[in-house]
């Protein structure tokens, strides 16, 4: 006999299969399952997964799938998923992009949850407002951050140069770095990185002169002369060998792993203060953290406190309430915040900051201490950058390299940068 299945049997079998699989689906739906997307280093991934695990331990009906990417790939991924109607429930957001996403209606407005499942009143108004777009709250501050100068104290001390401190002038900084290089204790080692192509460094320099990168309506807020002076200052740094030469700096791909301290090419690098923990994690030599150098008397505050990143929830999420509860867990619950530590910046909640500080490791304590020292001296948060600003960060790097490799003068580079940056912003 051969095995035959008639039509009726086949239909019955199919119906049974569908019935069974829908039972399976039903079970999966009973548990709230969400997706959480973030960018960052391995350090961040480990900490975030630990927080998720702790949350699932307490909430058996919730399951959260986490996915991590590098900065560049992250925005591609998020934009593609959002365009495809498949946005993750929980979104790590950046101040640079929140206006774009919020104004296109892709993010959940947290306002109705405030004081209920989202209890972040102790953030203080400035830290809450940094997640607002057009008066509505779309992002919850994940950590307070600023720019910083990190220094390898071992290499610095070897050179016999007086230690760095907050409030150095740019000239003092140049002189000290030149001495570190001149001491010649390590082969191919320099005082500082060349920061002429680093946008946050340039922004700090502009603000110290009372300028800024962009105006409120998205135009350039500096002139060719400002950019030319900036390129000229770093030209001087290269001339006196205070910073690394052009072909060494070009190895820096604006990632933590390729910065000049990690590559052991220089004693000083410039980055965001939360990144200090990851930079320290890459090497054994003790690092310290300082404010940017300043122009001396008459200078204005160049640095500002900003949200290192924000937590947003997708407007199309099927589990909005559960997602908001998890966001609250990350910023206000002692367990969640303990898992994250200060790797995403110093917690905005004063209550959590007090709870966390005693148990922090040395590098994290340095960051908290730094933000505390810096807070009285910072300026206001600048407006969110316009479309096209992302391209300008790379344009600055490219033109700074042209000057460093001697392809153009600082003067011409200033003019060229302003022209092309303005065109990028206009184009959007």
């Amino acid at each position: 006999m051969t095995l035959t299945i008639d039509r009726r049997q086949l239909l019955a079998g199919m119906a049974a299969t569908v019935a069974f699989s829908s039972i399976g689906l039903g079970r999966a739906n009973a548990a709230t399952s969400m997706r959480f997307l973030w960018w960052g280093s391995k350090e961040r991934t480990d900490r975030t997964l630990a927080a998720i695990k702790a949350y699932q331990g307490k909430n058996a009906d919730v399951s959260i799938a986490g996915e991590s990417f590098g900065w560049d790939n992250y925005w591609t991924r998020l934009a593609t998923q959002t365009a495809g109607g498949n946005a993750p429930d929980l979104i790590q957001m950046d101040y640079r992009y929140i206006f774009e996403y919020a104004r296109r209606g892709t993010l959940l407005d947290f306002t109705p949850y405030m004081g209920k499942s989202l209890a972040i009143d102790d953030f203080g108004a400035p830290n809450i407002d940094s997640g607002k777009v057009d008066g509505k709250l779309y992002g919850v501050n994940l950590g307070v951050n600023s720019s910083m100068a990190a220094v390898n104290t071992v290499a610095w001390a070897e050179a016999g140069v007086e230690p760095m401190h907050d409030g150095m002038t740019w000239d003092q900084f140049a002189e000290a770095c030149a001495k570190v290089t001149a001491a010649g204790k390590r082969r191919g080692f320099y005082g500082s990185q060349d920061a002429s192509g680093v946008e946050p460094s340039f922004e700090c320099w502009l603000r110290q002169r009372g300028k800024a990168l962009y105006t409120n309506d998205g135009k350039l807020a500096f002139e060719a002369k400002d950019a030319a002076d900036w390129f000229a200052f770093w030209g001087h740094m290269r001339d006196i060998k205070a910073c690394v030469p052009a072909d060494v700096q070009a190895l820096d791909q604006l990632t933590i792993e390729t910065n000049m301290i990690a590559l052991r090419k220089a004693a000083v690098c410039f980055a965001h203060s939360n990144q200090f923990i990851a930079i320290q994690g890459l090497g054994k030599e003790k690092l310290d953290i300082f404010a940017y150098p300043n122009p001396g008397p008459g200078g204005k505050p160049g640095q500002y406190l900003k949200p290192s990143m924000l937590m947003s929830v997708s407007a199309t999420s099927a589990n909005k309430d559960a997602a908001v509860a998890f966001v609250n867990y990350l910023v206000e619950d002692p367990d969640g915040t303990k898992a994250l530590g200060v790797e995403r910046g110093v917690p905005a909640s004063s209550k959590i900051r007090g709870l966390l500080t005693p148990d922090l490791d040395a590098a994290s304590k340095q960051v908290v201490d730094y933000i505390g020292r810096l807070t009285p001296q910072v300026g206001a948060l600048p407006p969110s950058p316009p479309n096209g600003a992302g391209e300008n960060a790379f344009l600055l790097k490219k033109i700074a390299e042209e000057v460093a490799f001697g392809k153009t003068s600082a003067q011409d580079a200033g003019t060229k940068f302003v022209e092309q940056a303005a065109a990028n912003v206009t184009r959007g």
């Binding site: 365009a83 191919g188 072909d247 070009a250 391209e391 390299e401 042209e402 490799f405």
Partner: protein, 311 residues
Amino acid sequence: MAIGASAPVRVETYQKAPSAFARNAPGYLFLLPWFIGFFGLTLGPALVSLYLSFTDYNLLQAPHLVGLDNYARIATGDDKFISSMKVTLFYVVCSVPLKLAFALMVALLLNRGIRGLPIYRAIFYLPSLLGSSVAIAVLWRQIFDGDGVVNTLLWYVLGINGPSWISNPNYSLYTLIILAIWQFGSPMIIFLAGLRQIPTDLYEAASLDGASKARIFFKITLPLLTPVIFFNAVVQTIDAFKAFTPAYVISSGTGGPIDSTLFYTLYLYQEAFGYFRMGYAAALAWVLVIIIAVFTAFSFLSARYWVHYDD
């Protein structure tokens, strides 16, 4: 049997004759996966990208038609289009002839009946398999950076303090060209096959007449190999225009330093996924298709003057 009996049979056969489609149905069935792939993953997206190239699509908002704006910008107002095209053309013009020459040289060496040929062939083919992977691009960074293998050798052998090849705009593109030449395996295999096709009696006749080795190479080997050279040249040129991974990994997607490794495909990628200008990137892609088509057409036109089909 009588004739009358066979007639109905013939009619019946005629009626039952399956149509051409039905007769080939099993064939089409087996081709179905390919058809699905071709229409769903190649032709469909290509047509969509052609449409998008006339829009301002930015991933988050619905596309609006902007006519020929994107193409007009490429033609008139885009410095990066020109600089990336220069980089790409330089790369194509340098890497393809050098790679083919190198592949031919190795093929000639291997064609002399040495022992263990399959092993050598496999070893020499290996870089082609690995060549466009991320791991190799990372390795390339290690070899050519300031403290890399190349400079260590230069220092110990010649006492020269070499520059950081990979991060110096004067040299960075050459390191990518060397990477391309190193992947000589697939043209080499094809050259080897071509060399085997050349009748040995021609060589015997030539050596009897006392022709020098150089003369034999230029008068027999090279002319008879021209169809294979032509095929390799066309394929490698198209490949070189499309090169992406090495430059992406080595410059971490920036095309730096100073856009010296900003290949056309890398620029296209930046516009699309860095700055979300999908419409413009789609236009760039179609311009590349046209450029490659023009180059290929030129190759075929020129072929009649130098390719010998010896039949």
